[in-house]
């Protein structure tokens, strides 16, 4: 379980996060939406222990986060920068396995299994740059999954992919989530996407000083489909509601001290 207790963060005088409290039960896929610059990435990096919370606490499974927690994985938007171009796809995925004390052959075998699982066949020995953007992001997802994380953070992971690739990867994410029941925090600025993949959607207010302004459970069936789910009344109602909330925070005057 992931718990945030009135987490705040400032850069200088400017509040980026202003008292964010959230509880994410095990196995939930939480979508976080908000206008750009609202501190979504800062929130994610704070949960990951990459940035210390200045006020409030973040706890993962009851342990306060001070460094990067065990069994946490992050998928960044910039797949091109997040993968290491001088390693093969397989070695990129196998890299986090080194600390498990596995031999090289075992690490590679495991990496190849995970690559197959994310739908990448026969690219193990290629370099990341030889792959398309969508495939590179699949590699990054494979690298995140290879250590069987209990908490997976995703920072606008599909933000720079074309629509078709994006839909495929959304479905891959849902599949992985259903199978592993990993707790996932999925940050996006795409309202439809937040509803489509999420079990729950949280809307952050526009920065500076973002806080949670809306917290909606997604009442869609677990089995989702790009065509029928997106066409269903429940989906449309939800995306309208989230959309309204996002529009409201974008139009509202900035909150917090200036």
């Amino acid at each position: 379980m992931l718990r945030l207790d009135s987490v705040s963060r400032r850069f200088g005088e400017q509040h980026v996060l202003d008292g964010i409290s959230l509880t994410v039960p095990d196995g939930q896929l939480l979508s976080v939406v908000g206008p750009s610059g609202c501190g979504k990435s800062t929130l994610l990096r704070t949960i990951a222990g990459l940035l210390p919370a200045q006020e409030g606490t973040v706890t993962v499974d009851g342990t306060p986060v001070t460094g990067v927690p065990e069994r946490l994985a992050v998928v960044f938007q910039e797949y091109g920068r997040s993968l290491l171009p001088w390693l093969t796809v397989r070695d990129n995925v196998a890299l986090p396995l080194r600390r498990r004390g596995l031999g090289r052959a075992a690490r590679r075998a495991e990496a190849e299994t995970i690559l197959e699982r994310v739908g990448l066949h026969g690219v193990a020995r290629r370099r990341p740059r030889e792959l398309s953007g969508g495939m590179q992001q699949r590699v990054a997802i494979a690298r995140a999954l290879v250590c069987r994380p209990s908490l997976l953070l995703m920072d606008e992971p599909f933000g720079s992919l074309d629509a078709g690739t994006r839909e495929d990867l959304e479905d891959l994410l849902l599949e992985v989530h259903r199978a592993d029941e990993t707790t996932i925090v999925f940050v996006t600025h795409d309202i439809d996407e937040s509803v489509y993949v999420g079990d729950r959607v949280v809307v952050l207010s526009a920065g500076p000083g973002s806080r949670v302004v809306r917290d909606l459970p997604v009442t869609l069936p677990g089995e989702r489909d790009q065509i029928t789910t997106r066409g269903s009344t429940a989906f449309v109602t939800l995306r309208t509601e989230v959309g309204r909330a996002v529009r409201a925070v974008r139009g509202a005057p900035p909150e917090g001290p200036r």
Partner: protein
């Protein structure tokens, strides 16, 4: 101290033998030895190694200016019959006689070559290797710590700004003329560009990749080996190339001093005192060829490591 001034002639000649070939390369060497601007351009045409592949002229045509200049010199020297400027063909023949007329089992090196070229090359190799190891290690260490960089940067800028040959007198006093002094001169001349460029390379490691390393919980050695060193590699190699040309300069310069008794630099001064200009020119030719060969060898290594098609060659 008129002597070092007088001796800048051959030194400049040695440098000229190395530098022109780096002009067509994407590395722009700043006046004080730091590589300026982005080392690796996004345009593929500027990736090291591809320059040669995309050269608009075939091999022979590219060397035609070189050959043409030699020909002009040959014709002019024969017409003038000046003792100071012998024709190039005579210089080449003289150089071959002096150094490459030995038996086949000695790789055609004459005993004179063994006594002249090998000591020079040995000192240069030792000096350059020490400078490379120390420069990369210290440079990465300095570049990885913001505090260390802030504290060391003024010292580095100062040390780098001192013209390396000016340090030679210090080592003459400390070690007396001989191999230790010559190696020390090379090390202290060549280490700064390697150090500064390695530090810049390590400092420029992508912050997102450092976050990735933190999230993957890589250990410090893993982070160094899998992330920082490969990221800094293009800059390290650029520093090594600057260090190599400085090594050659300092190798010759330190051998020019009175008291040294072997090496190419000694051959130069020795021939000068005997007014044997043919040998002086032959030594210059040898130095130019050596500089060119060493630089070409390093470029080949560079192409393998960071060129197109190599693992790191596809870095952003």
């Amino acid at each position: 101290m008129t002597r070092p001034d007088r001796e800048t002639g051959p030194e400049a000649g040695a440098e000229a033998g190395v530098r022109p070939w780096s002009c067509s390369r994407p590395y722009r060497d700043g006046p004080s030895g730091v590589v300026r601007g982005p080392v690796r351009s996004r345009t593929a045409a500027l990736v090291p190694g591809q320059v040669r592949a995309r050269s608009p002229f075939p091999f022979l045509l590219r060397w035609s200016v070189f050959l043409g200049a030699g020909l002009c010199w040959e014709v002019a020297a024969r017409a003038r019959r000046s003792v100071y400027f012998p024709p190039p063909l005579r210089i080449v023949r003289h150089a071959l006689d002096l150094w490459f007329s030995g038996p086949a089992r000695h790789l055609f090196l004459s005993s004179d070559a063994v006594g002249t070229i090998l000591p020079s090359l040995g000192r240069m190799a030792a000096g350059f290797a020490l400078a490379a190891v120390a420069g990369i290690a210290l440079g990465i260490a300095v570049g990885r710590s913001r505090r260390a960089y802030a504290l060391c940067n003024p010292v580095l800028q100062f040390a780098r700004a001192v013209p390396p040959p000016a340090l030679v007198p210090v080592f003459v006093v400390v070690f007396d003329v001989g191999t230790p002094m010559q190696v020390a001169s090379i090390v202290f001349g060549a280490v700064w560009p390697v150090l500064v460029n390695s530090a810049e390379g390590a400092r420029a490691t992508d912050p997102l990749r450092l976050q990735v390393a933190a999230v993957l919980r890589l250990t410090a050695p893993e982070r160094l080996w899998f992330l920082i060193l490969p990221s800094a590699l293009p800059r390290i190699l650029a520093g090594l190339r600057l260090g190599l040309s400085l090594s050659l300069i300092l190798m010759v310069f330190s051998e020019l001093l009175p008291g040294s008794d072997d090496g190419i630099g000694f051959t130069l001064t020795d021939a000068m005192t005997r007014s044997d200009l043919l040998t002086v020119w032959a030594a210059l030719l040898l130095l130019g060829a050596l500089g060119y060969l060493l630089n070409t060898a390093l470029l080949a290594v560079e192409k393998r490591l960071v060129g197109p098609g190599s693992p790191a060659g596809r870095t952003v």
